[in-house]
Amino acid sequence: MNKARSGLTILGIVIGIGSVIAMISIGQGAAGSIESRIQSMGSNLITVMPGFQKSFSQVKAGMGSAQTLTIEDAEAIVQGIPNVQAVAPELSRRYQVVARGQNTNTQIIGTVSAYPLVKNVEIGLGSFISDQNVRSMSKVAVLGPTTRDDLFGENTNPLGQTVRINGINFKVIGVTQSKGGTGFGSQDDIIFIPLTTAQKFLAGADYVSTISIQAENAQTMASVQSGITNLLLRLHNIAEPELADFNVLSQQDILTAASSITNTMTILLAAIAGISLIVGGIGIMNMMMTTVTERTREIGLRKAIGAKRLDISLQFLTEAVMLTFLGGAVGIILGSGLAYGISFFTALPTKISLFSIILAFTVSAGIGIAFGYWPAQKAAKLNPIEALRYE
């Protein structure tokens, strides 16, 4: 076997397997981090989001942008649905925030005292918003740790200080503990204020953007979910469930939706990488064809001394599989290194699973068999006399 030529040929397999491994690692890493983000949102959590009522013209707008939910809905859920532990309506929007000359743009969540219980938020300093704060529309704020760091400096105590949200002064009464996670949807870069204050002084409207409900336990999730749906349909005077102007989602629903998106993304990425595998396989086939031609005399000799068709075709198949296997092994190392490098240099999480390594080995052996089969057959069928005469 020609070493340089074999090396160059298996490069195609190396690149193919390497990129499949890297792509799957990125996909699964993303899926893992999204899952843990959803899990950390709270336990036995049900979320009600507004949706535009589907009119007869079937114009659908983005979920969550409508203004169909109110505090009354949240109160009705507290009163009317059994097995509900806590209910936290919220109104969230981004605003410009200023404190001591520092400027930041962050998520402002107007909510009630039940929020920390429902959303697994823990208080680090001071206290969270109280029922009294909500009743009296107090201008008080609880900062997320990232926001606190941005506005007042790392690990400082901002209690009693003032932050200016959208031109209105709020007194800081608490800081939450870090939940981890960065970027979009971070639970750390956030400011909580009383819901009533947010509605009156910031939004100037009395809707809420989300109602979060914690069921008593996992067993009651389903009944609570359907109870809320029926209750809100009644309150909103909607006869047909299909026409509902809201969506009631359990954590599981969100998880399912998110994982179907990440799965699709993973498959798509892997499929693109898979194309380079096919190209690599064709390279192997091409080289094996050349090898068979070059080694015609050897094949003739082997046949003359008693090799059967199967012996010859196995010999060449084995060579092809060994090549692709070698390519696969190098590809796995390279792909894993790439995945590791990606999570090292960017914050993107990656996850190299045993599954993807087994898959890569199987696929590379499969490619050896699939693309080595034809050359091996060609070798096996050579007439020993013709082969011996071949110059």
Partner: protein, 221 residues
């Protein structure tokens, strides 16, 4: 042990037909040393391929050890070759990047002989043709022509074939090494009682055999 009955072989390439053999009949008994002699293009190699079960005749019958092999399939012929026949070619046909020992072991691999037994048999065969231990692990393309041909003979002998076929075995060798190789065949025949068929176009080579079958233009003279 060998009986050819009215064997013909016609090669067709495109619409060209070559009658390489035209009704050849003869028989060879076990333990004989026979030379098949004729000028170049007379059909000697074609005949050897049929006698060696590498090919089947277009018409006629060929009995090998009493069995009609003229209609057998590829793989059935391979079975006969691997157990009963040893070949020696003019151009040696050794695997160039394999060791001497590996070349001689190869037929035993296809015959399914166990690893230990293979090595032992191959070493004996090499010693039988006068190649000692010191040569076993040379690459075969580092040998001289005479040595290569003796490795090829050892390879032909290694699975104790009943018939050894040699097609112009001295064609690529000088006279002196040729004599050594012919001597080896001689010994195989006289000491080990093996049937040897030697194909050549030169009379002085043919004269080493006990009997000469002469062919010309695909016919026995």
């Amino acid at each position: 042990m060998i009986e050819a009955k009215n064997i013909s072989k016609i090669y067709k390439s495109g619409n060209m037909e070559t009658k390489a053999l035209k009704g050849i009949s003869f028989s060879i008994k076990e333990g004989e040393f026979v030379a098949i002699m004729g000028p170049s293009g007379s059909g000697k190699s074609t005949l050897m391929h049929i006698l060696g079960c590498l090919d089947t005749p277009t018409s006629g019958k060929y009995f090998f050890e009493g069995k009609d092999v003229s209609q057998l399939s590829d793989d059935e012929l391979a079975d006969i070759r691997k157990n009963r026949i040893g070949f020696v070619f003019q151009s040696f046909n050794l695997l160039p990047r394999a060791t001497v020992l590996r070349n001689v072991v190869l037929p035993l691999v296809y015959a399914g002989v166990s690893r230990d037994k293979r090595e032992k048999q191959a070493k004996t065969a090499l010693q039988n043709v006068g190649l000692g231990e010191s040569h076993f692990f040379h690459l075969s393309n580092q040998l001289s022509g005479g040595q290569m041909q003796r490795v090829a003979i050892a390879r032909a002998l290694v699975n104790n074939p009943s018939l050894i076929l040699a097609d112009e075995p001295t064609g690529n060798l000088d006279t002196k090494t040729g004599e050594v190789v012919l001597d080896t065949f001689h010994k195989l025949n006289s000491e080990q009682k093996r049937t040897v068929i030697l194909i050549t176009h030169e009379l002085y080579v043919a004269k080493h055999a006990q009997r000469i079958i002469r062919i010309r233009d695909g016919e026995i003279l």
